[in-house]
């Protein structure tokens, strides 16, 4: 008996060990019997529904779909491993955050924002983890490399796209401050200031 499309997809997602995009799921089937993209999507939706109320969930991340333990059950499952994953240094996290929000960005620009020189070991560590890559070069003397984040970065942090990253706090401008300082002035200049700040 031919297994259902959704069961084949479930088995493949669990066997793959990495997120699988829809195209790769379609290629599990012989050429002449490849399900349409819509059919694969339907099967994925059914799977997600089957998992409701259970310990696992279907999650779409940047490079495709994966089956993972539901967040609520993570504390139990984490008991399986004695050693806990290490922490990342603030310098590494700040660098990664700047690249994620400001990409493509050169090393010099990162240093400008952080106000300190950037150690090579941090950039190497980020590249070795596959979280950042050289996305191009800026047309400046020395053609400095432009860095950007990878799909692996998004996968690691359980994100589907950069849009899902937490929003940055807004930068206030001097004009905002003036408005707060002097309500009368603010009333008079209201529209101008808002535009300048926007």
């Amino acid at each position: 008996m031919q297994p259902q499309v959704k069961h084949i997809i479930e088995a493949a997602l669990l066997a793959a060990g990495e997120p699988l995009p829809i195209e790769r799921l379609r290629r599990l089937f012989p050429h002449d019997r490849q399900p349409e993209v819509a059919a694969v999507c339907d099967a994925l939706a059914e799977l997600a529904k089957d998992f409701e109320g259970r310990g696992i969930e279907l999650k779409e991340v940047a490079s495709g779909y994966r089956i993972q333990v539901r967040a609520q059950l993570a504390p139990w499952v984490a008991q399986l491993w004695v050693t806990k994953p290490g922490r990342y240094s603030r310098a590494l996290l700040e660098t990664l955050a700047i690249i994620a929000y400001r990409q493509p960005i050169t090393r010099g620009e990162i240093e400008e924002i952080r106000g300190v020189a950037l150690s090579s070991s941090i950039m190497r560590a980020l590249q070795e983890r596959g979280w950042i890559r050289v996305a191009g070069h800026r047309e400046l003397p020395g053609r400095p490399a432009l860095f950007g984040t990878t799909r692996a970065f998004l996968d690691y942090f359980n994100l589907k796209s950069l849009n899902e990253m937490p929003a940055l706090t807004e930068i206030r401008f001097w004009s905002d401050y003036d408005a707060e300082l002097d309500p009368c002035l603010a009333a008079a200049e209201g529209s101008n200031t808002a535009q300048a700040a926007g």
């Binding site: 066997a15 993570a74 996290l93 700040e94 955050a97 924002i113 106000g115 020189a117 937490p166 001097w174």
Partner: protein, 293 residues
């Protein structure tokens, strides 16, 4: 270590001083009478704290935040004094003081000197006010400092996210063959030709190709049959050209001593067979090729 404790004491005094003088600080334009108590820093922890600053911007932010000052209205003179205290302390503790700390000290001193100059009070700070640039840099840095914290809080693999992974039945992994286009093949040959200047001696014309093919056809055919009539080697329907091509191929094969020709008497049919050596070793009819010796 005594010196360190001494400096630490100084720092605490300085912090107390900052608290007492911070009454000038404003939060959203409101003067603050008293500030929340700053954290008491045990002397042993000082070094750890100082080492934990990510740079001059981080240190400045710390000084501003612990006094609940507004980044857009920093009391430059006071902050500069506090900043220099920390920088001196880092020097005293022989911390690897990055040059950026001193560069920032210069920026602060520059701003301070400008503030001392008389200014037209009624005008809003113009574009050249160096405090604007400092406030922008501080805010921008703080943005990413917070973003780094938020990033750290995101669920991540192996800590909060555990993907399912199960074994699959072992199966012979299929190997697929590389794809080649005819164009690629031709371009490869063009390369050979370009490289070999003496290629002219191998020059082959379109017409010659059919002779070459006929040579191989004949060779494989005579390999499997003992004797083959020359006439039978000419495929039907090829006309005069077919006869010519076959004849040329036979002559070429004969010249290369790949075939033997037999004729029992004059004007009798001519028979073709593979040369003795070819006969013994070729694998006739095996189109898929033979295994390498």
């Amino acid at each position: 270590m005594a010196g360190e404790v001494g400096v630490a004491k100084e720092i605490r005094e300085e912090q107390a001083h900052a608290r007492s003088t911070a009454a000038v600080a404003k939060i959203k334009g409101e003067p603050l009478a008293s500030l929340p108590h700053d954290l008491y820093i045990p002397p042993d922890a000082l070094e750890v704290i100082l080492e934990s600053f990510e740079g001059p911007l981080d240190l400045l932010l710390y000084l501003i935040r612990r006094q609940n000052l507004d980044i857009l209205d920093i009391p430059i003179a006071e902050i500069t004094r506090q900043y220099m205290r920390y920088v001196e302390l880092m020097k005293d503790l022989c911390l690897d003081l990055a040059a950026e700390y001193l560069a920032m000290a210069a920026v602060l001193a520059h701003i301070k000197s400008r503030m001392l100059l008389p200014q037209p009070t009624q005008e809003a700070p113009d574009e050249t006010d160096p405090r604007i640039e400092l406030a922008r840099r501080l805010q921008e840095y703080e943005q990413f400092k917070e973003a780094a914290g938020a990033l750290d809080e995101l669920p991540r693999l192996a800590r909060d996210i555990f993907p399912g992974r199960v074994p699959a039945p072992v199966r012979r992994i299929e190997r697929s063959e590389p794809v080649v286009s005819l164009r690629e093949l031709i371009m490869a040959l063009a390369d050979v030709m370009a490289r070999a200047e003496h290629f002219a001696q191998y020059a082959v014309q379109r017409e010659a190709l059919s002779v070459r093919q006929r040579m191989v056809d004949i060779l494989s055919r005579v390999g499997c049959e003992c004797f083959c009539a020359l006439a039978d080697l000419v495929p039907a329907g090829e006309g005069r050209l077919g006869v010519t091509v076959t004849f040329l191929a036979v002559l070429e094969l004969f010249r290369e001593r790949l075939i033997e020709l037999r004729q029992t008497e004059a004007f009798a049919p001519i028979y073709v067979r593979a040369a003795a050596a070819v006969r013994n070793s070729a694998t006739p009819g095996n189109e898929q090729g033979m295994n390498n010796p």
